[in-house]
Amino acid sequence: MTLVVDRAGDGPRVHALVIGVGAYRHLPGGGEPVTHDTLGLRQLTGPPLSARAVADWLATSLRHPRAALGTIELLTSPGAPDAAPDGAAPPAPSRASVDVPTMAAVAAAFEAWYARCDTHEDNVAVFYFCGHGVERESPFLLLEDFARSPLALLENALDIGQTYQGMARCRAREQYFFVDACREIPFQLLQLLSGNARVLVTPQAVGDQRRDTALVYATSGGAKAYGRPGRPTRFTEALLRALDGLGGRLDGAGWVVDVSSLQRAVTLLLGSGAGGAPVQVPSVRGAGLGVLHTMPHAPLVPVSLACRPAAAVQAGAPRLSPLAALPGAVRHAAIPSLVASATGWSVEVPADIYTLSVDFPGGGYASVQKSIAALPPGVYDEPVEVQP
């Protein structure tokens, strides 16, 4: 077990279990005998980085409306120690030495996490997994010692669907599960998935008293979730950007991130992947309108403007003036300058409604004005028509 954050205290707490599996012992390159069809699965470098990025964000940025951060338990492969020097401050989650996510280690960590969550009904349970996954009648998450036995391929896999159901037994009434894994296996290989995946808490008919729950998948059923070598995965990067503000919505005079607004933002960010990145569409199950995170101020929102014609971009002097039109808005004194590109301008500004003015000091085009609603999840390629 590796608690990378352990903050004792009274009252409701957020308890997180964060798992990133990259080194699969029984897949090619894993160092152990491979005695089975490997389903086309390979070693991964992104999941440990993704898990550590999530743990870092939780440790440094999470502001739940009712519960302070309590614990973060982290398991990642390859588990390379990266200890802080003697006398140094406690290591950040991204630098801590942690256990590797074998089935035994994950099961033990899960039991301890469940027990912590179960201490208070207003506790908040957060579960995050990044690694390989497959889907048969339920999504299965593959742990580091997956496929140890060729006779029972799913022996060291986790049935997250049933485990999520079983968590109804836990007293924590607010629970969020994030699963960054593929849900795709070719049909002809599905029949190789022998045996049953493990359920870490057996569902019981005790009455589901959870108030707000979500099981967020990085991709839709039967589809892939994409990673990038040596970097956090696309979904996790989008998830953290959404939590940082692009998944924000107005709640009275403040800004919060809830499951619905988070889902929309992650969908947008994955849908606008640069360089022809493949489509990846997250999906969510659950109940309630749980607020995961409150923001101390209006989120920064990306605004990109498409100038038509593009030839006018370099001659233009664009300026955004905030109207302080949103509930609880303050008039922001310093709005950063827009940055020109070949086709338009872009900038990140606090959420608000703005007046865009584009002047052409050198002449050639008429000045233009228009209103821009800079709201999460952002303004993308908003056309700005310019007349000679």
Binding site: E135, R136, E137, S138, G161, Q162, Q165, E184, P186, F187, L190, Q191, T202, P203, Q204, A205, V206, G207, D208, A214, V216, S220, G221, G222, A223, R249, L250, V259, S260, Q263, R264, T267, L268, G271, V279, V281, P282, S283, V284, R285, G286, A287, G288, L289, L323, A325, L326, P327, G328, A329, I353, T355, K370, S371, A373, L375, P377, G378, V379, Y380
Partner: protein
């Protein structure tokens, strides 16, 4: 100084007629339902306002309006009105990718067949090709366990359970997803009830906040159903699933029970009642919940994927508690076949199958061997 802001929704092809709308500006945020058939206007302080609707796909469509004092300013949202769609719309009814594109004509030979229960039904409806190449048909279904089957020599056969409504619209279009569930062809079913269609779309895409805006009207309609004023089991099913997702299933007291009694052929009704009972602390009516789940399993696959998920989970729950319960074990094995072969992200239950009652992971292709009862779709 007060002006007047009007909001209208120009719903084009492929959009629901009723959506969740928010108006932000003047230090306020107002949310309400926006009906394509019922524009509305209200008084606001003069100023700048953003009006946006949440599409079931997960996209926003928005526009900004300047409201001057003593004047009425209208915002018309729609594909043809210049409103900005902030998120690319990846699918017509859910987040299913790969259904967009200019030419939606399927590139593979396909057939379609209508089933009522386990028996092929007569196909008497006209099949048309839309301007964008998509194949459409308005199916003359009634209230009953209807299912649609689509497949072909190069496309795995699939079954789509149809909503309990008098008539639904089928759309078959090309999909860029050739390796996943779509297998190159997207099959969509448009709901007959605008509110139910929006609500189910929002639920499927996880937009419970938007669902909460449009749901009250449907819940009211569902309550009227059980006062004998109207017959809209489709709306009642959508309302029931919303209430379960929102944790408000007790707010309608005993109508889930009436729903399951009155529509005993509809698995979704039994599932909704079962889960109302299973959510209660310590589950005092466990036996009734069990009976409802078995009733649902006997009736076949639920019309909605949400119902199949709840049926599967409910039977797993009871099976875990009592492994010796042979009835539950049998039902679970049957439902597990649907669960293994289904598209979990579709709104309407969709699964690979040679026949509606035989879901399976085997890829079944070809033309039906029967001489009639099916129609070859135009296209490739």
């Amino acid at each position: 100084v007060t002006g007047r802001l009007g909001v209208a929704w120009d719903a084009g092809p492929g959009h629901e007629r009723l959506l969740a709308c928010e108006v932000i500006g003047g230090g306020r945020r107002i949310t309400r339902t926006l009906d394509a058939d019922a524009p509305y206007a209200f008084d606001v302080p003069e100023g700048t306002y953003v009006v946006r609707v949440a599409l079931p796909s997960g996209a926003f469509m928005s526009s900004v309006a300047e409201v001057a004092g003593d004047r009425e300013t209208w915002v018309v949202l729609g594909d043809s009105t210049g409103a900005v769609t902030e998120v690319p719309d990846p699918g017509a009814e859910s987040f299913t990718p790969g259904t967009g594109g200019a030419d939606r004509r399927p590139t593979r030979p396909l057939f379609a067949r209508l089933w009522l229960g386990d028996t092929p039904s007569t196909w008497s409806d006209t099949v048309e090709v839309a301007p964008d190449g998509a194949i459409t048909a308005r199916l003359s279904t009634g209230l009953g366990p209807y299912a649609l089957q689509v497949g072909g020599p190069e496309t795995a056969w699939r079954t789509v359970r149809l909503p309990p409504a008098y008539g639904v619209t089928l759309t078959v279009s090309r999909s860029e997803d050739t390796a996943g569930f779509d297998d190159g062809v997207h099959v969509g079913v448009t709901s007959a009830s605008p509110v139910a269609g929006s609500l189910l779309g929002y639920l499927a895409s996880g937009q419970l906040d938007a669902a909460q805006i449009v749901a009250p009207e449907l819940v009211r309609q569902a309550e009227e159903l059980f006062r004998g004023k109207m017959a809209n089991p489709e709306g009642a099913a959508a309302a029931g699933y919303f209430l379960l997702r929102a944790g408000q299933q007790e707010s309608v007291r005993n109508w889930p029970e009436n729903f399951a009694n009155w529509f005993d052929w509809l698995p979704d009704a039994a599932v909704i009642h079962a889960w109302q009972l299973l959510r209660r602390p310590r589950v005092p009516e466990r036996d009734v919940a069990r009976a409802r789940l078995l009733q649902a399993a006997r009736a076949g696959a639920p019309c909605y994927t949400e119902g199949l998920r709840l049926l599967f989970q409910g039977l797993q729950l009871l099976g875990n508690e009592d492994p010796d319960d042979a009835d539950v074990a049998g039902a679970l094995e049957q439902v597990r076949l649907f669960a293994a072969a289904c598209d979990w992200d579709a709104v309407h239950t969709t699964y690979w199958s040679a026949r509606p009652d035989r879901p399976g992971l085997q890829r079944h292709t070809g033309w039906p061997t029967e001489a009639d009862g099916w129609v070859r779709l135009p296209g490739a």
